[in-house]
């Protein structure tokens, strides 16, 4: 994780998400995936379009992480969740709700925020 060198595809995704213009990649056969992609992992095609990320996702599973990696020390404890946005799922940190109120089925939106420990970009779910 160098400060200078960008991660093509990934950094652009976060910048777009921060601008409220989150997207996912859709191959010409309709399979959703996350960047960077040159080949669809489902069908192997190489043509993609950027489609708007659905505004609402549903929490499918979650955990309260109490022992974090050093890069997340100041963030702990935090809730990590997998949320289903339809064509894709995302993994993010749940903010804006008490940890014991996070539940499977909770409806969230994905936003770009920062990691408390390092200031690195962080995918965050907030209740909607």
């Amino acid at each position: 994780m160098s400060d200078e060198t960008r991660d093509a595809g990934f950094d652009e995704f976060f910048e777009a998400l921060a601008d409220g213009e989150g997207y996912y990649l859709e191959c010409e056969n309709g399979h959703g995936s996350l960047p960077p992609r040159s080949v669809c992992p489902e069908c192997g095609v190489r043509e993609f379009t950027e489609e708007p990320l659905p505004v609402a996702g549903e929490v499918e599973t979650f955990t309260v992480t109490r022992v974090a990696m050093p890069d997340f020390e100041a963030d702990e404890p935090y809730v990590t969740a997998v949320a289903d946005f339809g064509p894709i799922r995302l993994t993010g940190q749940v903010r804006g709700v008490d940890h014991d109120e996070v539940a499977v089925g909770m409806v969230v939106e994905a936003v770009a925020e920062e990691r408390e420990t390092t200031g690195d970009p962080l995918l965050v779910f907030r209740p909607r």
Partner: protein, 388 residues
């Protein structure tokens, strides 16, 4: 096609030995395996070696030749990396190499040095088995990833932390006579439920420890064994590997492990056997939920039915199919690169009858190993049988 025989086994003590280098650990395990086999080191044609975090733990790449040298073997060495199933991957490739007739004698092993990193450092190192961009940068730890699977399992199929506590209790019980285990300590369901939480619903006693250690097996062709009077009654008769999408969120199932389903199916077909033939199993219980997922992938239980196996006493030492008689990763320890090889060594010893827990499986003729990488984006299954 040659039969692949386990001619010798060697497992170091697993535990905390932060000062011991990977080469030091592997040298001990491999020397023990060669001694056990009674095979001249000059006959070893290849060294297949599993290791996951050598670059991070001891700034060491290119470990193949290093480990061949450490073992005192004048043969080329190659390292296999597949996260926590690096050792299983080394075994599988050795099996294929012997079967295709290219090679007769392969020293297969694995080692990991982890405790020198400290808990935080080891947690960070283990996390790189997940997708760096889309999981690690969201704060997913290794226990966190399995906690996501466990929560999904509870949602989909039911079960409780108490059910899973019985897995930990069972595996600690099994390790009591295991002098090479990290923990020889009896625990109770209350101990498990009362331990500090790591990543809910996974508590400290649901998780395997951070461990240093090494394991090795000497694999030979049946022809070599016969010509050289090597006693090797156990064969690896089935090998299977499955793969899946790297990130958990890209999988078809959050509460199942399709890569292990595929590995088991391939390994059983390869051996011409099925789940009903299994007498004993060593499975990858890095967390208690992982043992349940393994039982279901191996077909020992239907999907959603494996949760109560330990609680009902079906997988305990005196159960129908004892699982993790070694103590499993939970109690014997999990030096990542060594684990898959140690499982093969344990089953070989159990089937030979000279394992510390052989008394529980005196009539056993067939055992399986299940070794998983990351959140099971890779899985290796092997079938071992008594053939003589």
């Amino acid at each position: 096609m040659p039969d692949v025989r386990v001619a010798g086994t060697g497992i170091t003590e697993f535990g905390s030995a932060p000062e011991r280098t990977g080469r030091d650990l592997f040298a001990e395990a491999s020397a023990d395996a060669l001694d056990d086999a009674g095979v001249d080191r000059a006959d070893v044609e290849s060294v297949f070696y599993g290791n996951f975090m050598g670059e991070l733990a001891e700034h060491q790449g290119h470990q193949g030749p290093l480990m061949a040298e450490a073992a005192g073997v004048d043969a080329p060495g190659t390292r296999f990396e597949a996260a926590c199933c690096s050792g299983g991957a080394a075994v599988r490739n050795a099996v294929k190499d012997i079967r295709n007739g290219e090679t007769d004698v392969i020293l297969v092993g694995g080692a990991e040095r982890m405790t020198n990193l400290g808990t935080a450092g080891a947690t960070e190192a283990l996390a790189i088995a997940a997708d760096d961009l889309w999981e690690v940068r969201a704060g997913v730890t290794f226990p966190g990833a399995y906690a996501l699977m466990e929560q999904a399992y509870f949602e989909e199929y039911g079960g409780s932390r108490e059910d899973l506590a019985h897995v930990a209790v069972k595996n600690h019980e099994n390790a009591l006579p295991n002098d090479r285990a990290q923990f020889q300590k009896e625990i109770t369901v209350e101990d498990v439920l009362g331990a500090p939480m790591v990543s809910d619903p996974i508590g400290m006693y649901d998780a395997c420890p951070i461990s240093d250690g090494a394991a090795a097996v000497l694999l030979v062709s049946d022809e070599y064994a016969a010509e050289n009077d090597v006693e090797a009654p156990v064969a690896i008769t089935g090998t299977g590997q499955g793969g899946d999408r790297m990130a958990l969120h890209d999988r078809d199932h959050l509460a199942r492990t399709p890569a292990a389903d595929a590995a088991a199916e391939e390994a059983y077909a390869d051996a011409g056997v099925g789940p009903d033939d299994v007498d004993v199993a060593e499975v990858h219980d890095c967390f208690t939920i992982a043992e349940v997922l393994a039982l279901e992938s191996l077909g020992l239980y239907d999907v959603g039915e494996g949760m109560a196996a330990a609680r009902e006493g079906e997988t305990t030492a005196d159960g129908d199919v004892p699982v993790n008689l070694s103590g499993g990763l939970k109690a014997k320890g999990h030096p990542v690169g060594a684990t898959g090889v140690s499982q093969v060594a344990e089953i070989a010893e159990l089937l030979r009858g000279d394992h510390f827990n052989s008394e529980y499986v005196a009539d056993a003729t067939l055992g399986v190993t299940h070794n998983a990488g990351g959140t099971v984006a890779t899985a290796l299954v092997h079938v071992l049988e008594v053939v003589e």
